[in-house]
């Protein structure tokens, strides 16, 4: 069917195509109109389901705590109050968590980006003698790992548990990020490297002054991946630094607030007489908004980067 119409298209000139299209527009099949309705309904439902819970959380966070217990708050606060945010700002561990979260995000993004880029650079040099061996060495780590217990014992033996360093040293190189970067670097013409070498540039200079400037969009993508991962991590704080409140993270603090509530819903008895002991829903909402705000404000501006990053990493490689 397709081949036949192809030849028909070739025969027709542009003007003819336009008339055909116009004609086509006039007699649009009814099935297409039905389909349009389905598209609109599906997307409307999608947007509502995605946004409602988030907007609801914002509304709750600005609502008076006692008033919110009555329920029925949807998209707008009923009794406006800034008290929830004031309470959150007065929690000392939220401040500690924020400091550690920002710190780990910045440090880990910089170190991890540098390490992955350098490794990707080495692996993508066509001349390099151990190119395929080094690649394989890292690809294996994507599929085989020691698992939670051996890793936990390793960090303990290395003295990483109970320190800030457990947040940025262990995950510094990730085979996935490295492969995304390698694919991108392999697309850069080799002649650039060769001409630089003729001018006497060493590999470090080539990496720093020739390859890296060309990789900026890819660096932005990978940096975003790492930063989001770091910002949203909580499990490492719970597993390795449970006793060290000075190294708590924002997400872990939020988890502690929320988990008390979740455990309660599991038992009917607690649900009846609970309300007094658990953190009010409005405070939880305000904390949630505080932890997600920076990333939610940032990501719309970085769309271009993560879309290219995902497409290169997933499809081409």
């Amino acid at each position: 069917m397709i081949r036949l119409t192809d030849s028909r298209l070739e025969r027709g000139n542009t003007i003819m195509n336009e008339t055909v299209n116009k004609e086509y527009k006039v007699r649009k099949p009814i099935s297409d109109k039905v389909f349009s309705v389905i598209v609109v309904v599906f997307l409307a439902a999608f947007v509502i389901i995605t946004l409602y819970p988030v907007i609801n959380t914002v509304a709750l966070s600005f609502n008076d705590g006692i008033d919110a217990v009555r329920g029925g708050i949807h998209l707008w606060p009923r009794k406006f109050s800034m008290k929830n945010y004031k309470t959150v700002m007065e929690m000392q561990n939220i401040w500690t968590g924020a400091k550690i979260t920002v710190g780990r995000t910045v440090i880990a993004t910089l170190t991890s980006l540098f390490a992955n880029a350098l490794l990707a650079f080495v692996v993508s040099r066509k001349r390099f003698l151990f190119k395929s061996q080094l690649s394989l060495f890292w690809v294996i780590t994507m599929y085989v790992n020691g698992g939670m217990i051996p890793v936990f014992l390793l960090y303990k033996n290395l003295g990483l548990t109970g320190t800030f360093h457990v947040y940025w040293i262990p995950g510094m190189i990730s085979a996935f990020n490295m492969l995304v970067m390698r694919t991108y670097m392999e697309g850069i013409p080799e002649s650039l490297e060769e001409s630089a070498q003729l001018d006497g540039a060493g590999y470090w200079t080539i990496f720093k002054d020739i390859i890296s400037p060309l990789c900026k969009p890819m660096y932005a993508t990978v940096a975003l991946f790492i930063a989001v991962w770091q910002w949203n991590s909580w499990f490492d704080a719970m597993l390795y630094n449970r006793m060290k409140t000075e190294y708590t993270t924002l997400q872990y603090e939020l988890m502690k607030l929320l988990s008390s509530v979740m455990q309660q819903s599991g038992s009917a008895e607690n649900a009846k007489n609970g309300a007094a002991t658990i953190t009010p829903i409005t405070i939880r909402a305000a904390t949630t908004i505080v932890t997600m705000l920076p990333i939610v404000c940032l990501y719309p501006f970085l769309q271009r980067y993560f879309i290219t990053g995902l497409t290169i990493g997933g499809v081409k490689e």
Partner: protein, 313 residues
Amino acid sequence: MARTKTENRPKIKMSGKELRRQKFLLVVSFFMVAYGVVFYYWPLTGWLMAFQNYKPKKGLLGSKFVGLDKFKFLFEDDVFIKVIRNTFAMGLINLVTTTIMAVLFAIILNEVRRVWIKKPIQTISYLPHFLSWIVVTGILHTSLSSSGIVNEILLKTGLINQAINFFAHPKYFWAIVAFAQNWKETGWNAIIYLAAITAIDPSLYEAASIDGADRLQKIRYITLPGIKPTFLILLLMNVGNVLNAGFEIQYLLGNGLVQSVSQTIDIYVLKWGISQNDYSLGTAAGLFKSAVSILFIVIANEIAKRYSEQRLF
């Protein structure tokens, strides 16, 4: 990740001159390999613990060797059998539903021609991906609570007479997990499919229009075959992850009442290994998971090799 073709070029021979020339690359490689050995390969020796009665004081070499005893204990434990079932079931449900939703969303969004509608919807669709599981489960909890929006709608439409406590009944748990997974990742997963759709030659659609095909037919005969390679490669990559799909959300949403359906292998490992300090049992469960994951990848790769051009290795 499909294999990229190796180019035909004169092979560079190893020689003293070449080694000196590549000194920088070799030095960097040395440090990278050292790092990899410490943080990725060294933990593999810990697998030995699965076959021992590991005592931290005696160490890996001094602990008593017990053969397959730990595995025997695992498979005689009804809880572990349920844990395997839960991990597998949730992993599979998540894989199937998220794939379908991502493809569906990509195709439907692609049907929107007006950029000023399409762009904002796309931006909104990524939002949940950037939220942590903590935030997502918190939001979910508010929405599904007895005074939450879901119960409110169900009550108002008269579908139920009494608010449902969704987190207290095992029968809802897998559905809640699947919903959360889809809520969080649909927009994000659709990015690759949207890119694949954009890569389809537009003249195919024009030709089909002239032939009188309606939009549904165009989707069926052009869009779907067009994204098939992407679909297969992603499926391949994700099959190996089926058992990895279960930790954070189950851990955060689980409670005593739904334990029989919420516990996954990773939670079991955490519970026995870290909380109960039975490192050997925890490692054995983890090793079982790794082995099955690798088996899945190899099988998926073989099937793909046989039936299509796509493969991982």
